[in-house]
Amino acid sequence: MATPAVGATEPVTTTAAPKTAKTKKPPGQKPPWWLWFAIAAIVVFCLAPFYWLINVSLKTGPDLSGSAIVPPNPTLDNYQSVFQNDDFIRALLNSAIVSLTTTFLALLVGSFCAYALARLKFPMKFALLALVLSITTFPPIAIATPVFKLWSDIGLFNTLPGLIIPYLTFALPLAIYILVSFFKEIPKDLEEAALVDGATRFQAFYKIVIPLAAPGLATAGILTFISAWNEFLFAVTLTSTPDARTVPAAIAFFTGSTEFEEPLGTISAASIIISIPLILLVLLFQKRIVAGLTAGAVKG
Protein backbone atom coordinates (compact mmCIF):
# COMPACT_ATOMS: atom_id res chain seq x y z
CA MET A 1 0.00 0.00 0.00
CA ALA A 2 1.63 3.17 -1.20
CA THR A 3 0.54 5.65 1.43
CA PRO A 4 1.38 4.70 4.99
CA ALA A 5 -1.72 5.98 6.61
CA VAL A 6 -2.74 6.23 10.17
CA GLY A 7 -6.17 5.03 9.77
CA ALA A 8 -8.69 2.41 10.10
CA THR A 9 -8.99 1.47 6.49
CA GLU A 10 -6.68 -0.01 4.01
CA PRO A 11 -7.73 0.53 0.45
CA VAL A 12 -10.74 -1.59 0.01
CA THR A 13 -10.25 -1.45 -3.69
CA THR A 14 -7.56 -4.07 -3.90
CA THR A 15 -9.92 -6.94 -4.06
CA ALA A 16 -11.77 -8.04 -7.08
CA ALA A 17 -14.44 -9.72 -5.05
CA PRO A 18 -15.62 -6.93 -2.75
CA LYS A 19 -17.84 -9.04 -0.57
CA THR A 20 -14.94 -10.90 0.90
CA ALA A 21 -13.28 -7.74 2.13
CA LYS A 22 -15.06 -8.51 5.32
CA THR A 23 -13.58 -11.61 6.73
CA LYS A 24 -16.29 -14.17 6.73
CA LYS A 25 -15.87 -17.77 7.54
CA PRO A 26 -17.27 -19.91 4.76
CA PRO A 27 -20.73 -21.05 5.71
CA GLY A 28 -20.89 -24.35 7.45
CA GLN A 29 -17.69 -23.89 9.49
CA LYS A 30 -18.49 -23.49 13.15
CA PRO A 31 -16.53 -21.13 15.33
CA PRO A 32 -14.01 -22.91 17.58
CA TRP A 33 -14.99 -23.74 21.13
CA TRP A 34 -12.52 -21.38 22.70
CA LEU A 35 -14.16 -18.54 20.83
CA TRP A 36 -17.34 -19.13 22.78
CA PHE A 37 -15.34 -19.11 25.96
CA ALA A 38 -13.69 -15.83 24.99
CA ILE A 39 -17.03 -14.33 24.16
CA ALA A 40 -18.51 -15.45 27.43
CA ALA A 41 -15.56 -13.90 29.26
CA ILE A 42 -16.04 -10.64 27.39
CA VAL A 43 -19.73 -10.55 28.16
CA VAL A 44 -19.13 -11.16 31.85
CA PHE A 45 -16.34 -8.60 31.94
CA CYS A 46 -18.50 -5.92 30.37
CA LEU A 47 -21.78 -6.66 31.98
CA ALA A 48 -21.00 -7.79 35.52
CA PRO A 49 -20.32 -4.35 36.97
CA PHE A 50 -23.23 -3.02 34.97
CA TYR A 51 -25.40 -5.69 36.52
CA TRP A 52 -24.15 -4.53 39.91
CA LEU A 53 -25.37 -1.05 39.04
CA ILE A 54 -28.79 -2.42 38.14
CA ASN A 55 -28.74 -4.40 41.35
CA VAL A 56 -28.15 -1.30 43.45
CA SER A 57 -30.73 0.69 41.53
CA LEU A 58 -33.42 -1.75 42.59
CA LYS A 59 -32.63 -1.35 46.27
CA THR A 60 -33.79 1.31 48.63
CA GLY A 61 -33.28 2.28 52.23
CA PRO A 62 -31.39 -0.11 54.49
CA ASP A 63 -30.92 -2.64 51.68
CA LEU A 64 -28.43 -0.23 50.21
CA SER A 65 -26.25 -0.86 53.23
CA GLY A 66 -26.15 -4.52 52.43
CA SER A 67 -24.06 -6.38 49.91
CA ALA A 68 -26.68 -8.72 48.53
CA ILE A 69 -26.08 -9.74 44.96
CA VAL A 70 -29.76 -9.95 44.25
CA PRO A 71 -31.89 -7.19 45.73
CA PRO A 72 -33.83 -8.61 48.68
CA ASN A 73 -36.77 -6.29 48.08
CA PRO A 74 -36.58 -5.22 44.49
CA THR A 75 -38.47 -2.04 43.83
CA LEU A 76 -38.75 0.52 41.09
CA ASP A 77 -38.94 3.37 43.58
CA ASN A 78 -35.62 4.79 42.55
CA TYR A 79 -36.60 4.91 38.92
CA GLN A 80 -39.88 6.50 39.84
CA SER A 81 -38.27 9.23 41.86
CA VAL A 82 -35.78 9.87 39.10
CA PHE A 83 -38.50 10.32 36.51
CA GLN A 84 -40.54 12.45 38.82
CA ASN A 85 -37.60 14.75 39.16
CA ASP A 86 -38.32 17.54 36.68
CA ASP A 87 -34.77 18.74 36.78
CA PHE A 88 -33.59 15.35 35.64
CA ILE A 89 -35.96 15.25 32.70
CA ARG A 90 -34.80 18.70 31.76
CA ALA A 91 -31.23 17.53 32.06
CA LEU A 92 -31.93 14.61 29.73
CA LEU A 93 -33.24 17.03 27.17
CA ASN A 94 -30.24 19.30 27.59
CA SER A 95 -27.85 16.40 27.26
CA ALA A 96 -29.55 15.26 24.09
CA ILE A 97 -29.43 18.71 22.54
CA VAL A 98 -25.85 19.36 23.53
CA SER A 99 -24.53 15.97 22.49
CA LEU A 100 -26.33 15.84 19.16
CA THR A 101 -25.36 19.38 18.25
CA THR A 102 -21.78 18.79 19.30
CA THR A 103 -21.58 15.63 17.23
CA PHE A 104 -23.08 17.22 14.18
CA LEU A 105 -20.88 20.29 14.39
CA ALA A 106 -17.78 18.27 15.20
CA LEU A 107 -18.30 16.15 12.11
CA LEU A 108 -18.96 19.24 10.04
CA VAL A 109 -16.06 21.34 11.27
CA GLY A 110 -13.80 18.33 11.62
CA SER A 111 -14.45 17.03 8.14
CA PHE A 112 -13.70 20.43 6.65
CA CYS A 113 -10.38 20.58 8.42
CA ALA A 114 -9.66 16.92 7.69
CA TYR A 115 -10.36 17.32 4.01
CA ALA A 116 -8.06 20.30 3.78
CA LEU A 117 -5.36 18.30 5.49
CA ALA A 118 -5.89 15.24 3.37
CA ARG A 119 -6.27 16.75 -0.04
CA LEU A 120 -5.39 20.39 -0.34
CA LYS A 121 -2.00 21.94 -0.68
CA PHE A 122 -1.13 24.58 1.85
CA PRO A 123 1.81 25.37 4.05
CA MET A 124 2.42 24.22 7.61
CA LYS A 125 0.19 21.20 7.39
CA PHE A 126 2.27 19.29 9.84
CA ALA A 127 2.11 22.16 12.28
CA LEU A 128 -1.65 22.24 12.06
CA LEU A 129 -1.96 18.52 12.58
CA ALA A 130 0.36 18.65 15.54
CA LEU A 131 -1.54 21.60 16.95
CA VAL A 132 -4.80 19.71 16.69
CA LEU A 133 -3.27 16.71 18.41
CA SER A 134 -1.83 18.91 21.13
CA ILE A 135 -5.32 19.84 22.26
CA THR A 136 -5.62 16.39 23.71
CA THR A 137 -2.72 17.25 25.95
CA PHE A 138 -4.51 20.08 27.75
CA PRO A 139 -5.52 19.30 31.29
CA PRO A 140 -9.20 20.19 31.57
CA ILE A 141 -8.58 21.80 34.95
CA ALA A 142 -6.49 24.48 33.33
CA ILE A 143 -9.22 25.20 30.82
CA ALA A 144 -12.26 25.29 33.04
CA THR A 145 -11.63 28.44 35.05
CA PRO A 146 -10.53 30.76 32.23
CA VAL A 147 -13.44 29.60 30.10
CA PHE A 148 -15.78 30.22 33.02
CA LYS A 149 -14.45 33.73 33.30
CA LEU A 150 -14.67 34.35 29.56
CA TRP A 151 -18.19 32.96 29.33
CA SER A 152 -19.31 35.04 32.31
CA ASP A 153 -18.03 38.14 30.61
CA ILE A 154 -19.70 37.52 27.28
CA GLY A 155 -22.88 36.01 28.61
CA LEU A 156 -22.44 32.42 27.59
CA PHE A 157 -22.35 31.16 31.16
CA ASN A 158 -25.13 28.72 31.97
CA THR A 159 -26.23 28.32 28.36
CA LEU A 160 -26.24 25.34 26.06
CA PRO A 161 -24.02 26.96 23.43
CA GLY A 162 -21.63 27.67 26.27
CA LEU A 163 -21.21 23.93 26.66
CA ILE A 164 -21.32 23.02 23.02
CA ILE A 165 -18.36 25.20 22.08
CA PRO A 166 -15.83 23.60 24.46
CA TYR A 167 -17.16 20.11 23.79
CA LEU A 168 -16.84 20.70 20.09
CA THR A 169 -13.28 21.89 20.43
CA PHE A 170 -12.18 18.90 22.42
CA ALA A 171 -13.92 16.52 20.08
CA LEU A 172 -11.97 17.83 17.11
CA PRO A 173 -8.66 16.02 17.58
CA LEU A 174 -10.02 12.51 17.47
CA ALA A 175 -12.60 13.34 14.82
CA ILE A 176 -10.04 15.01 12.58
CA TYR A 177 -7.60 12.16 12.98
CA ILE A 178 -10.10 9.50 12.10
CA LEU A 179 -11.47 11.47 9.20
CA VAL A 180 -8.09 12.37 7.74
CA SER A 181 -7.13 8.73 7.53
CA PHE A 182 -10.45 7.74 6.01
CA PHE A 183 -10.25 10.54 3.50
CA LYS A 184 -6.76 9.62 2.48
CA GLU A 185 -7.83 6.13 1.66
CA ILE A 186 -10.42 7.21 -0.80
CA PRO A 187 -8.97 7.01 -4.30
CA LYS A 188 -8.26 10.42 -5.69
CA ASP A 189 -9.32 9.67 -9.21
CA LEU A 190 -12.97 9.83 -8.24
CA GLU A 191 -12.58 13.45 -7.28
CA GLU A 192 -10.32 14.11 -10.23
CA ALA A 193 -13.00 12.81 -12.52
CA ALA A 194 -15.54 15.09 -10.91
CA LEU A 195 -13.25 18.07 -11.24
CA VAL A 196 -12.74 17.34 -14.88
CA ASP A 197 -16.52 17.28 -15.22
CA GLY A 198 -16.61 20.82 -13.90
CA ALA A 199 -17.32 20.33 -10.22
CA THR A 200 -15.56 22.57 -7.69
CA ARG A 201 -13.25 21.11 -5.11
CA PHE A 202 -15.85 21.69 -2.48
CA GLN A 203 -18.52 19.90 -4.45
CA ALA A 204 -16.19 16.99 -4.94
CA PHE A 205 -15.75 17.04 -1.22
CA TYR A 206 -19.31 16.73 -0.14
CA LYS A 207 -20.66 14.75 -3.03
CA ILE A 208 -17.98 12.13 -3.35
CA VAL A 209 -15.65 12.01 -0.42
CA ILE A 210 -18.16 12.34 2.40
CA PRO A 211 -20.40 9.45 1.32
CA LEU A 212 -17.41 7.19 0.86
CA ALA A 213 -16.07 8.10 4.26
CA ALA A 214 -19.33 7.21 5.97
CA PRO A 215 -17.87 4.55 8.26
CA GLY A 216 -15.24 7.00 9.46
CA LEU A 217 -17.91 9.60 10.08
CA ALA A 218 -19.98 7.08 11.95
CA THR A 219 -17.08 6.02 14.14
CA ALA A 220 -16.04 9.57 14.87
CA GLY A 221 -19.69 10.44 15.45
CA ILE A 222 -20.29 7.74 18.05
CA LEU A 223 -17.15 8.55 19.98
CA THR A 224 -17.89 12.25 19.97
CA PHE A 225 -21.46 11.71 21.05
CA ILE A 226 -20.48 9.50 23.94
CA SER A 227 -17.82 11.87 25.24
CA ALA A 228 -20.15 14.84 25.01
CA TRP A 229 -22.87 12.87 26.78
CA ASN A 230 -20.57 11.80 29.59
CA GLU A 231 -18.63 14.98 30.15
CA PHE A 232 -18.62 16.10 33.74
CA LEU A 233 -16.11 18.81 34.60
CA PHE A 234 -17.28 21.51 32.21
CA ALA A 235 -20.89 20.59 32.81
CA VAL A 236 -20.50 21.36 36.49
CA THR A 237 -18.31 24.42 36.04
CA LEU A 238 -20.18 26.15 33.25
CA THR A 239 -23.78 25.72 34.37
CA SER A 240 -25.59 26.82 37.48
CA THR A 241 -29.28 26.09 37.00
CA PRO A 242 -31.34 23.23 35.62
CA ASP A 243 -31.97 25.30 32.48
CA ALA A 244 -28.63 24.40 31.07
CA ARG A 245 -27.48 21.52 33.20
CA THR A 246 -26.75 18.21 31.53
CA VAL A 247 -27.23 14.81 33.06
CA PRO A 248 -23.79 14.21 34.57
CA ALA A 249 -23.99 17.53 36.40
CA ALA A 250 -27.57 16.81 37.44
CA ILE A 251 -26.48 13.55 39.03
CA ALA A 252 -24.13 15.53 41.23
CA PHE A 253 -27.29 17.10 42.63
CA PHE A 254 -28.98 13.87 43.50
CA THR A 255 -29.46 13.78 47.18
CA GLY A 256 -30.82 11.89 50.04
CA SER A 257 -32.49 13.70 52.88
CA THR A 258 -29.35 15.29 54.31
CA GLU A 259 -26.14 16.79 53.07
CA PHE A 260 -24.08 13.69 53.76
CA GLU A 261 -26.33 11.14 52.23
CA GLU A 262 -25.13 9.61 49.04
CA PRO A 263 -28.20 8.27 47.32
CA LEU A 264 -26.61 5.32 45.59
CA GLY A 265 -30.01 3.96 44.68
CA THR A 266 -31.19 6.95 42.69
CA ILE A 267 -27.77 7.63 41.24
CA SER A 268 -27.62 4.07 39.96
CA ALA A 269 -31.13 4.29 38.57
CA ALA A 270 -30.31 7.54 36.81
CA SER A 271 -27.13 6.05 35.38
CA ILE A 272 -29.01 3.10 33.96
CA ILE A 273 -31.58 5.42 32.48
CA ILE A 274 -29.05 7.59 30.72
CA SER A 275 -26.99 4.64 29.52
CA ILE A 276 -29.92 3.18 27.67
CA PRO A 277 -30.16 5.77 24.89
CA LEU A 278 -26.42 5.42 24.39
CA ILE A 279 -26.69 1.67 24.12
CA LEU A 280 -29.58 1.92 21.70
CA LEU A 281 -27.70 4.42 19.60
CA VAL A 282 -24.71 2.16 19.46
CA LEU A 283 -26.90 -0.73 18.46
CA LEU A 284 -28.22 1.31 15.55
CA PHE A 285 -24.95 2.92 14.55
CA GLN A 286 -22.78 -0.15 14.47
CA LYS A 287 -24.95 -1.66 11.77
CA ARG A 288 -24.22 1.50 9.84
CA ILE A 289 -20.48 1.07 10.22
CA VAL A 290 -20.54 -2.41 8.84
CA ALA A 291 -22.87 -1.40 6.04
CA GLY A 292 -20.65 1.51 5.23
CA LEU A 293 -17.57 -0.65 5.05
CA THR A 294 -19.05 -3.17 2.70
CA ALA A 295 -20.60 -0.40 0.68
CA GLY A 296 -17.18 1.16 0.28
CA ALA A 297 -15.83 -2.14 -0.94
CA VAL A 298 -18.52 -2.46 -3.54
CA LYS A 299 -18.15 1.06 -4.84
CA GLY A 300 -14.39 0.84 -5.14
Binding site: T20, I42, V56, C113, T145, S268, L283
Partner: protein, 304 residues
Amino acid sequence: MEAASIKAGTPKGRRSRGTSERRLAAYMVSPSLLLIALVAAYPIGYAVWLSLHEYSVRVAGLSRWAGLDNYSTALSDPEFWDAVQNTFIFTAGSVTFEVIIGMGMALAMHSAFRGQGLLRTVVLVPWAVLTVVTAMMWRTIFDPTLGLVNSILGTDIVWLGESPHAMIVMIIADVWKTAPFMALLLLAGLQVIPGEIYEAAKVDGATMWQRFSRITLPLLMPALLVALIFRTLDALRIFDLPFVLTKGTHGTNTLSLEAYQTFTANNIIGLGAALAVLTFIIVMAVSFLYIRFVGGNIRGLAEE
Protein backbone atom coordinates in the same frame (compact mmCIF):
# COMPACT_ATOMS: atom_id res chain seq x y z
CA MET B 1 -8.35 -0.01 -9.75
CA GLU B 2 -5.13 -0.47 -7.92
CA ALA B 3 -4.14 1.86 -5.19
CA ALA B 4 -0.69 2.09 -6.70
CA SER B 5 -1.95 3.45 -9.93
CA ILE B 6 -3.89 6.17 -8.19
CA LYS B 7 -0.71 7.73 -6.92
CA ALA B 8 0.62 8.06 -10.42
CA GLY B 9 -2.53 9.76 -11.54
CA THR B 10 -2.14 12.72 -9.20
CA PRO B 11 -2.14 15.75 -11.42
CA LYS B 12 1.00 17.71 -11.00
CA GLY B 13 1.87 21.11 -12.18
CA ARG B 14 -1.58 22.61 -12.00
CA ARG B 15 -0.17 25.74 -10.56
CA SER B 16 -3.22 27.85 -11.13
CA ARG B 17 -5.00 25.66 -8.70
CA GLY B 18 -2.49 26.41 -6.05
CA THR B 19 -3.89 29.69 -4.80
CA SER B 20 -7.51 28.70 -5.00
CA GLU B 21 -6.63 25.57 -3.14
CA ARG B 22 -4.96 27.59 -0.47
CA ARG B 23 -7.94 29.83 -0.18
CA LEU B 24 -10.32 26.94 0.10
CA ALA B 25 -8.00 25.36 2.62
CA ALA B 26 -8.01 28.55 4.65
CA TYR B 27 -11.79 28.56 4.72
CA MET B 28 -12.03 24.94 5.64
CA VAL B 29 -9.47 25.10 8.33
CA SER B 30 -10.47 28.37 9.93
CA PRO B 31 -13.48 27.21 11.97
CA SER B 32 -11.28 24.64 13.69
CA LEU B 33 -8.53 27.15 14.28
CA LEU B 34 -10.93 29.68 15.68
CA LEU B 35 -12.35 27.22 18.16
CA ILE B 36 -8.90 26.08 19.16
CA ALA B 37 -7.74 29.63 19.72
CA LEU B 38 -10.73 30.48 21.84
CA VAL B 39 -11.20 27.42 23.94
CA ALA B 40 -7.74 25.96 24.06
CA ALA B 41 -5.05 28.51 23.34
CA TYR B 42 -6.46 31.36 25.40
CA PRO B 43 -6.88 29.30 28.58
CA ILE B 44 -3.40 27.87 28.28
CA GLY B 45 -1.98 31.31 27.68
CA TYR B 46 -3.88 32.51 30.71
CA ALA B 47 -2.57 29.64 32.78
CA VAL B 48 0.99 30.46 31.76
CA TRP B 49 0.44 34.08 32.71
CA LEU B 50 -0.92 33.08 36.10
CA SER B 51 1.97 30.74 36.68
CA LEU B 52 4.44 33.58 36.41
CA HIS B 53 2.95 35.34 39.41
CA GLU B 54 2.20 34.64 43.00
CA TYR B 55 -1.25 35.53 44.25
CA SER B 56 -1.71 35.95 47.95
CA VAL B 57 -3.97 33.49 49.68
CA ARG B 58 -4.09 35.54 52.85
CA VAL B 59 -4.49 39.05 51.56
CA ALA B 60 -6.84 39.88 48.77
CA GLY B 61 -5.53 41.75 45.79
CA LEU B 62 -1.93 41.16 46.62
CA SER B 63 0.21 39.66 43.95
CA ARG B 64 3.77 39.79 42.84
CA TRP B 65 5.84 38.74 39.90
CA ALA B 66 7.35 35.35 40.48
CA GLY B 67 9.11 34.62 37.25
CA LEU B 68 9.95 30.96 37.23
CA ASP B 69 9.80 30.59 41.02
CA ASN B 70 6.59 28.60 40.95
CA TYR B 71 8.17 26.18 38.55
CA SER B 72 11.22 25.65 40.69
CA THR B 73 8.99 25.17 43.74
CA ALA B 74 6.96 22.59 41.92
CA LEU B 75 9.95 20.77 40.48
CA SER B 76 11.67 20.50 43.84
CA ASP B 77 8.60 19.21 45.63
CA PRO B 78 8.77 15.46 46.24
CA GLU B 79 4.99 15.33 46.07
CA PHE B 80 5.14 16.55 42.50
CA TRP B 81 7.51 13.79 41.51
CA ASP B 82 5.32 11.30 43.33
CA ALA B 83 2.43 12.48 41.23
CA VAL B 84 4.54 12.14 38.09
CA GLN B 85 5.48 8.61 39.04
CA ASN B 86 1.93 7.64 39.90
CA THR B 87 0.62 9.11 36.68
CA PHE B 88 3.13 7.20 34.58
CA ILE B 89 2.55 3.96 36.43
CA PHE B 90 -1.16 4.34 35.95
CA THR B 91 -0.77 5.19 32.27
CA ALA B 92 1.56 2.30 31.55
CA GLY B 93 -0.61 -0.17 33.43
CA SER B 94 -3.95 0.84 32.11
CA VAL B 95 -2.89 1.35 28.49
CA THR B 96 -1.11 -2.00 28.40
CA PHE B 97 -4.13 -3.88 29.67
CA GLU B 98 -6.49 -1.90 27.52
CA VAL B 99 -4.54 -2.86 24.43
CA ILE B 100 -4.42 -6.52 25.34
CA ILE B 101 -8.03 -6.78 26.37
CA GLY B 102 -9.21 -4.45 23.62
CA MET B 103 -7.37 -6.49 21.03
CA GLY B 104 -8.93 -9.66 22.37
CA MET B 105 -12.35 -8.11 22.26
CA ALA B 106 -11.82 -6.84 18.73
CA LEU B 107 -10.64 -10.22 17.51
CA ALA B 108 -13.58 -11.96 19.09
CA MET B 109 -16.02 -9.42 17.72
CA HIS B 110 -14.47 -9.75 14.30
CA SER B 111 -15.08 -13.47 14.02
CA ALA B 112 -18.27 -14.07 12.22
CA PHE B 113 -21.01 -15.75 14.10
CA ARG B 114 -24.57 -15.04 14.96
CA GLY B 115 -25.26 -12.37 17.51
CA GLN B 116 -22.19 -10.40 16.53
CA GLY B 117 -24.10 -7.15 16.54
CA LEU B 118 -25.33 -7.83 20.01
CA LEU B 119 -21.83 -8.57 21.20
CA ARG B 120 -20.60 -5.29 19.83
CA THR B 121 -23.29 -3.47 21.76
CA VAL B 122 -22.47 -5.34 24.94
CA VAL B 123 -18.85 -4.37 24.57
CA LEU B 124 -19.72 -0.71 24.43
CA VAL B 125 -21.75 -0.79 27.63
CA PRO B 126 -18.82 0.16 29.91
CA TRP B 127 -17.98 3.05 27.65
CA ALA B 128 -21.56 4.26 27.91
CA VAL B 129 -21.59 4.54 31.71
CA LEU B 130 -20.62 7.92 33.14
CA THR B 131 -17.06 8.10 34.41
CA VAL B 132 -18.15 9.52 37.72
CA VAL B 133 -20.71 6.80 38.18
CA THR B 134 -18.19 4.16 37.14
CA ALA B 135 -15.88 5.37 39.86
CA MET B 136 -18.66 5.27 42.46
CA MET B 137 -19.63 1.82 41.30
CA TRP B 138 -16.13 0.41 41.60
CA ARG B 139 -15.74 2.05 44.97
CA THR B 140 -18.74 0.16 46.30
CA ILE B 141 -17.64 -3.07 44.65
CA PHE B 142 -14.31 -2.83 46.45
CA ASP B 143 -15.77 -1.65 49.76
CA PRO B 144 -13.90 -3.42 52.59
CA THR B 145 -16.94 -4.58 54.54
CA LEU B 146 -19.86 -4.58 52.18
CA GLY B 147 -18.28 -4.89 48.77
CA LEU B 148 -18.61 -7.66 46.26
CA VAL B 149 -14.92 -8.39 45.90
CA ASN B 150 -14.23 -9.00 49.55
CA SER B 151 -17.30 -11.15 49.96
CA ILE B 152 -16.31 -13.30 47.00
CA LEU B 153 -12.68 -13.57 47.98
CA GLY B 154 -13.49 -13.86 51.66
CA THR B 155 -10.90 -11.30 52.64
CA ASP B 156 -11.11 -7.97 54.37
CA ILE B 157 -8.46 -6.08 52.49
CA VAL B 158 -9.01 -2.36 52.59
CA TRP B 159 -8.51 -1.99 48.86
CA LEU B 160 -8.66 1.74 48.56
CA GLY B 161 -6.78 2.29 51.78
CA GLU B 162 -3.49 0.72 50.88
CA SER B 163 -0.92 1.19 48.25
CA PRO B 164 -0.49 -0.49 45.78
CA HIS B 165 -3.98 -1.89 46.06
CA ALA B 166 -5.58 1.48 45.41
CA MET B 167 -3.67 1.88 42.16
CA ILE B 168 -4.67 -1.61 41.10
CA VAL B 169 -8.33 -0.80 41.64
CA MET B 170 -7.94 2.41 39.71
CA ILE B 171 -6.36 0.58 36.78
CA ILE B 172 -9.08 -2.05 36.81
CA ALA B 173 -11.77 0.63 36.77
CA ASP B 174 -10.11 2.47 33.91
CA VAL B 175 -9.47 -0.64 31.85
CA TRP B 176 -13.07 -1.71 32.28
CA LYS B 177 -14.25 1.60 31.07
CA THR B 178 -11.98 2.15 28.09
CA ALA B 179 -11.02 -1.24 26.70
CA PRO B 180 -14.20 -0.96 24.61
CA PHE B 181 -12.90 2.25 23.06
CA MET B 182 -9.78 0.38 22.00
CA ALA B 183 -11.87 -2.50 20.78
CA LEU B 184 -13.99 -0.28 18.62
CA LEU B 185 -11.05 1.36 16.89
CA LEU B 186 -9.24 -1.93 16.44
CA LEU B 187 -12.36 -3.57 15.10
CA ALA B 188 -12.72 -0.94 12.42
CA GLY B 189 -9.14 -1.66 11.48
CA LEU B 190 -9.70 -5.39 11.40
CA GLN B 191 -12.79 -5.13 9.27
CA VAL B 192 -10.91 -4.02 6.23
CA ILE B 193 -8.16 -6.57 6.17
CA PRO B 194 -9.10 -8.65 3.16
CA GLY B 195 -9.99 -12.21 3.94
CA GLU B 196 -7.98 -13.69 1.06
CA ILE B 197 -4.75 -12.83 2.79
CA TYR B 198 -5.68 -15.15 5.60
CA GLU B 199 -6.87 -17.80 3.20
CA ALA B 200 -3.63 -17.61 1.32
CA ALA B 201 -1.67 -17.82 4.53
CA LYS B 202 -3.65 -20.83 5.68
CA VAL B 203 -2.97 -22.50 2.38
CA ASP B 204 0.72 -21.82 2.95
CA GLY B 205 0.43 -23.55 6.30
CA ALA B 206 0.72 -20.57 8.65
CA THR B 207 -0.34 -21.21 12.24
CA MET B 208 -2.85 -19.04 13.98
CA TRP B 209 -0.15 -17.23 15.88
CA GLN B 210 1.81 -16.62 12.69
CA ARG B 211 -1.29 -15.32 10.99
CA PHE B 212 -1.80 -12.97 13.88
CA SER B 213 1.73 -11.71 14.23
CA ARG B 214 2.64 -11.54 10.55
CA ILE B 215 -0.61 -10.39 9.02
CA THR B 216 -3.02 -8.95 11.54
CA LEU B 217 -0.65 -7.00 13.71
CA PRO B 218 1.24 -5.16 10.97
CA LEU B 219 -1.91 -4.31 9.05
CA LEU B 220 -3.56 -3.21 12.24
CA MET B 221 -0.65 -1.06 13.32
CA PRO B 222 -1.98 2.27 12.05
CA ALA B 223 -5.28 1.90 13.85
CA LEU B 224 -3.48 0.62 16.92
CA LEU B 225 -1.19 3.62 17.01
CA VAL B 226 -4.05 6.08 16.80
CA ALA B 227 -5.83 4.33 19.62
CA LEU B 228 -2.64 4.13 21.66
CA ILE B 229 -1.76 7.75 21.40
CA PHE B 230 -5.20 9.01 22.32
CA ARG B 231 -5.54 6.62 25.21
CA THR B 232 -2.09 7.48 26.51
CA LEU B 233 -2.77 11.18 26.44
CA ASP B 234 -6.09 10.63 28.17
CA ALA B 235 -4.54 8.44 30.83
CA LEU B 236 -1.85 11.01 31.57
CA ARG B 237 -4.54 13.56 32.36
CA ILE B 238 -6.75 11.29 34.44
CA PHE B 239 -8.75 13.13 37.09
CA ASP B 240 -12.30 11.83 37.64
CA LEU B 241 -11.29 8.37 38.71
CA PRO B 242 -8.80 9.14 41.49
CA PHE B 243 -10.91 12.09 42.60
CA VAL B 244 -13.89 9.88 43.33
CA LEU B 245 -12.08 6.71 44.39
CA THR B 246 -9.37 7.91 46.71
CA LYS B 247 -9.03 11.68 46.46
CA GLY B 248 -5.44 10.98 45.56
CA THR B 249 -4.36 9.10 48.67
CA HIS B 250 -2.31 5.93 49.00
CA GLY B 251 -0.28 6.29 45.88
CA THR B 252 -2.95 7.47 43.48
CA ASN B 253 -2.20 11.17 43.38
CA THR B 254 -2.00 12.13 39.72
CA LEU B 255 -0.74 15.28 38.05
CA SER B 256 -4.21 16.64 37.32
CA LEU B 257 -5.32 15.96 40.84
CA GLU B 258 -2.28 17.68 42.28
CA ALA B 259 -2.95 20.72 40.11
CA TYR B 260 -6.59 20.76 41.14
CA GLN B 261 -5.78 20.48 44.82
CA THR B 262 -3.36 23.38 44.67
CA PHE B 263 -5.23 25.61 42.29
CA THR B 264 -8.83 25.14 43.32
CA ALA B 265 -8.98 23.58 46.75
CA ASN B 266 -6.04 25.42 48.32
CA ASN B 267 -6.44 28.51 46.17
CA ILE B 268 -2.70 28.86 45.54
CA ILE B 269 -3.24 30.19 42.09
CA GLY B 270 0.28 30.78 40.83
CA LEU B 271 1.63 27.41 41.88
CA GLY B 272 -1.49 25.62 40.75
CA ALA B 273 -1.28 27.20 37.32
CA ALA B 274 2.37 26.21 37.12
CA LEU B 275 1.41 22.63 37.94
CA ALA B 276 -1.22 22.68 35.22
CA VAL B 277 1.29 24.02 32.73
CA LEU B 278 3.84 21.41 33.78
CA THR B 279 1.22 18.70 33.27
CA PHE B 280 0.56 20.12 29.85
CA ILE B 281 4.27 20.14 29.02
CA ILE B 282 4.77 16.57 30.18
CA VAL B 283 1.84 15.31 28.17
CA MET B 284 3.02 17.32 25.20
CA ALA B 285 6.49 15.80 25.53
CA VAL B 286 5.05 12.31 25.53
CA SER B 287 3.08 13.03 22.41
CA PHE B 288 6.19 14.39 20.73
CA LEU B 289 8.06 11.21 21.56
CA TYR B 290 5.24 9.21 20.07
CA ILE B 291 5.28 11.19 16.88
CA ARG B 292 9.02 11.00 16.61
CA PHE B 293 9.58 7.33 17.22
CA VAL B 294 6.35 5.73 16.41
CA GLY B 295 4.24 7.93 14.26
CA GLY B 296 6.00 8.45 10.97
CA ASN B 297 2.41 7.98 9.93
CA ILE B 298 1.56 11.39 11.20
CA ARG B 299 3.90 12.94 8.75
CA GLY B 300 2.35 10.76 6.10
CA LEU B 301 -1.05 12.07 7.03
CA ALA B 302 0.08 15.58 6.39
CA GLU B 303 1.67 14.77 3.08
CA GLU B 304 -0.10 15.52 -0.11
